[in-house]
C-alpha cells in the first residue's frame, strides 16, 4: 500500500509534470500559450494518474507506467533543454 501511495502521489506528480511540460515544449504553438495551457491542465492529468494508480490492481504495472512516463518525459526534456 505504501508503494502504491508513493507512486500515486509523488510518481503521479512527476509523471504529470513531465508529460505536460514535454507537451508544452514540443507543441507547435506560441511558447507562452503552450506553457500556460500545460500548467492549467496539469492538475487534471495528475488527478488522473492518482485515480488510475489506486484503481489498477497490478502494482507492478502501475509503477512501471507512472515511473516510466515520468522518467521518459523528464529525460526528453533534459535532452531538449529550454526553448527560450
Amino acid at each position: 500500500m505504501t508503494a502504491r501511495a508513493v507512486t500515486a502521489m509523488i510518481g503521479g506528480y512527476a509523471a504529470a509534470a513531465g508529460s505536460v511540460s514535454l507537451a508544452a515544449r514540443i507543441a507547435p504553438m506560441d511558447r507562452a500559450e503552450a506553457t500556460i495551457w500545460a500548467m492549467i491542465l496539469s492538475f487534471l492529468v495528475y488527478a488522473g494518474f492518482i485515480l488510475w494508480a489506486f484503481h489498477e490492481p497490478r502494482l507492478a504495472r502501475v509503477a512501471a507506467v507512472i515511473w516510466g512516463v515520468a522518467i521518459a518525459s523528464i529525460g526528453c526534456l533534459w535532452l531538449l533543454g529550454p526553448a527560450l
Partner: protein, 535 residues
C-alpha cells in the same frame, strides 16, 4: 490502517468500488484540513468587510480613485520623497481606506546596517492623512490561513495544495461512485441515522457540484506557478523571462540621481481608465519618485471584470508619457485569469457574493458531513470502537465544532483586548488557535456525544455574544449603525446571530436522544440546502 489493506483493491474490481474506496480514504485524510480551508475561505469572500468590522474606529466615505491616488502621493511626498518604491493600494467601495507601503533605497555604504523594514500604513483617501486604528490582521488572517494554514512558508502552501489535489480526486471519484446523481438532488431523509448522513453528504455535494469542482480546480490554479512551474522550466531559461512574455516588462531603469518633479497622477488614472473601458486601477507603484528615471505603474482592479489578471500600464513619472503596457492575453492566459477571478469572486456584486458565500458553506457542509459519515458508517452497535474510529471521531469534533469557536474568539478578542496593547494583531491570531486547539483537547476528554453538544453550544454562545460585545465596546452597535444608514455593521451582526443560531440548533440536535446511536447533525445543514434546492 488495517482496514485499508483489507479493502485495498487487490483483485480486479469494478471502477465504482475502487473509486468508492479512494473517495473514502482520500476524503478522510485530507478532510479535516479541507474543512478548515473551506470555512475560512468562505469567510474570505467578505475579507474587506471583516477588516472594516475589526477596525471600527475607521469610518470613511468612498472617494474617487483619482482623489485617493493624489492624496496618497501628497502624503508620501512628505514622508519619503527619496524612496526606492511606493506601493499604493487604492480603495474601492468595499475597502474604503488607502494602504501604502514604502521601500527605501538601499544604503550605498555596504557596511551600514540595513534600514528597518517599514510597516504598511492606512490613509484616509479623502485627505491623505494616516489613520490610526487598532492593530489587527482583519479578514486578511482568514484569507491567508485558508491557503497557508499558519505553517511556515512554503510548507503551508504545499500542504494546502496536497489537500486540494486530494479534494479534486475525491470529487472525480465521488461522481463516479455515485449511481443516481439526479435523484439524490431531491433526496434528504431526516433522522434515519447513517442514511441521513449519506443523504446530507449527497445533497450538499450534488446541489453545488459545479461550484465544488470549480473552486477546487481554480484554487490549485491560484498557486500554479508554485505547484507546477515545470512547463515554464521546459520552455524558458527562467521564470522572469516567462512573466515578461505574458504580463509585459517591468520597468528596470536605474535611478539617475537627477531631480525631476513627479508628474500629477490624476491624469494618468483618467488615461488608464479610458484604455480599460472605464476600469480603474487597484494598485499604483511609483519607482524612484522625484528622479529623472521615475516610473508610475498602474494595475487594473479586477472588481469589474471576470479575468482577475487585469492589464497594467507603465507611465513616465516625469512627463506622464505612456512607456509600455501589458500585452493583451492569448486564450490560455485569458482562461487562467478567468479561473483566478472565478475563485476569488472579486467581480461579484452583493447578490452573487452572498451566493458564493452560501455555496462555500455548502462545500464546508459537504466536507463536514463526509467526515461524519465515515465514522458513522464504521460504528458497530454493541462493539467497542477501534482506535482509528475513536481518533477520527475526536478529530471531527476538533475540526468541525472547534474551528468556528476559534474564529468567534478571534473576533471577540478584537473587541475585548485593549486597543493600544503591543503586538495585539498577533495576540488576536494566537487566541484563535489557542481556543481552537484548546477546546479540541478538552473535547477529547469528554464522552463523544457530549463533546459535540458542549462544543457546539460554546460556539453558539460565542457567536451570539458578538453583537452584544460590539454594541458595548464600540459606537457602532446594531441600532446606532442602522440609524446612521451604515449597513455593514448590522449585516455583520445578523450574520453572527444566524451562525450562532445554526450552532445552537446543531447542539440541541446532538443533545436530543434518538433511538439510534447516531448523531443527527446533518439535519442542521439541511435548511441551507433546502434554500439552495428551492433556488
Amino acid at each position: 490502517m488495517s482496514k485499508a489493506s483489507k479493502t485495498a483493491p487487490k483483485a480486479a474490481v469494478g471502477v465504482r468500488q475502487s473509486m468508492a474506496w479512494i473517495h473514502g480514504w482520500l476524503g478522510l485524510l485530507a478532510g479535516w484540513i479541507l474543512f478548515a480551508m473551506f470555512l475560512t475561505g468562505t469567510a474570505s469572500y467578505f475579507r474587506p468587510e471583516i477588516t472594516r468590522w475589526m477596525q471600527p474606529e475607521i469610518e470613511l466615505r468612498p472617494v474617487s480613485t483619482a482623489t485617493a491616488a493624489s492624496t496618497a502621493v501628497a502624503h508620501l511626498q512628505k514622508l519619503a520623497p527619496d524612496a526606492e518604491q511606493w506601493f499604493i493600494s487604492l480603495p474601492d467601495a468595499r475597502t474604503t481606506s488607502t494602504r501604502v507601503f514604502i521601500r527605501d533605497r538601499p544604503n550605498p555604504d555596504p557596511n551600514a546596517k540595513p534600514a528597518p523594514r517599514r510597516s504598511e500604513l492606512r490613509l484616509n483617501p479623502a485627505t491623505g492623512e494616516a489613520l490610526s486604528a487598532r492593530d489587527t490582521r482583519g479578514g486578511e488572517h482568514f484569507y491567508r490561513f485558508h491557503f497557508q494554514l499558519q505553517i511556515p512558508h512554503p510548507w503551508g502552501r504545499w500542504l494546502a495544495g496536497l489537500c486540494a489535489i486530494a479534494m479534486l480526486t475525491a470529487i472525480i471519484s465521488g461522481v463516479i461512485t455515485h449511481k443516481r446523481i439526479f435523484v439524490d438532488f431531491f433526496t434528504l431523509r431526516w433522522s434515519k441515522g447513517q442514511r441521513s448522513w449519506l443523504d446530507a453528504h449527497n445533497v450538499s455535494a450534488v446541489v453545488a457540484l459545479p461550484f465544488h469542482a470549480m473552486i477546487t480546480y481554480t484554487g490549485l490554479i491560484t498557486l500554479v506557478a508554485m505547484y507546477m512551474p515545470w512547463p515554464v522550466v521546459a520552455n524558458y531559461k527562467d521564470m522572469s523571462t516567462f512573466e515578461t512574455a505574458v504580463f509585459g516588462a517591468e520597468p528596470d531603469a536605474e535611478a539617475t540621481g537627477r531631480f525631476a518633479a513627479l508628474t500629477p497622477v490624476a491624469p494618468l488614472i483618467a488615461q488608464a481608465s479610458r484604455q480599460w473601458d472605464g476600469g480603474s486601477p487597484a494598485t499604483m507603484v511609483v519607482r524612484y519618485p522625484n528622479d529623472a528615471a521615475a516610473t508610475i505603474s498602474l494595475f487594473q482592479n479586477s472588481k469589474d471584470r471576470l479575468n482577475a489578471r487585469g492589464g497594467s500600464i507603465v507611465f513616465s513619472g516625469v512627463d506622464g508619457r505612456q512607456l509600455s503596457a501589458s500585452p493583451s492575453p492569448g486564450p490560455a492566459a485569458e482562461t487562467a485569469g478567468v479561473m483566478l477571478g472565478l475563485h476569488m469572486g472579486n467581480f461579484a456584486g452583493p447578490v452573487l457574493r452572498w451566493t458564493y458565500f452560501l455555496l462555500g458553506l455548502a462545500g464546508t457542509a459537504m466536507v463536514g458531513t463526509g467526515l461524519v459519515l465515515w465514522t458513522v458508517k464504521r460504528k458497530r452497535p454493541n462493539a467497542a470502537p477501534f482506535f482509528g474510529l475513536r481518533l477520527a471521531e475526536r478529530l471531527n469534533v476538533g475540526a468541525i465544532a472547534c474551528l468556528p469557536v476559534g474564529m468567534a474568539a478571534y473576533l471577540l478578542a478584537n473587541r475585548l483586548l485593549p486597543v493600544a496593547l503591543p503586538a495585539r494583531a498577533d495576540i488576536e491570531v494566537s487566541i484563535m488557535f489557542w481556543t481552537w486547539f484548546g477546546l479540541a483537547a478538552v473535547a477529547c476528554l469528554r464522552p463523544i456525544r457530549r463533546a459535540w453538544t458542549e462544543t457546539l453550544a460554546i460556539g453558539a454562545a460565542a457567536f451570539l455574544a458578538l453583537p452584544i460585545v460590539n454594541a458595548l465596546t464600540t459606537t457602532r452597535g446594531f441600532f446606532t449603525s442602522l440609524a446612521k444608514g451604515d449597513m455593514l455593521f448590522p449585516a455583520f451582526d445578523l450574520a453572527m446571530i444566524a451562525t450562532g443560531a445554526l450552532l445552537a440548533f446543531a447542539s440541541w440536535r446532538t443533545a436530543t436522544p434518538s433511538a439510534r446511536p447516531v448523531r443527527e447533525r446533518a439535519a442542521t445543514r439541511a435548511p441551507l440546502q433546502g434554500a439552495a434546492d428551492a433556488a
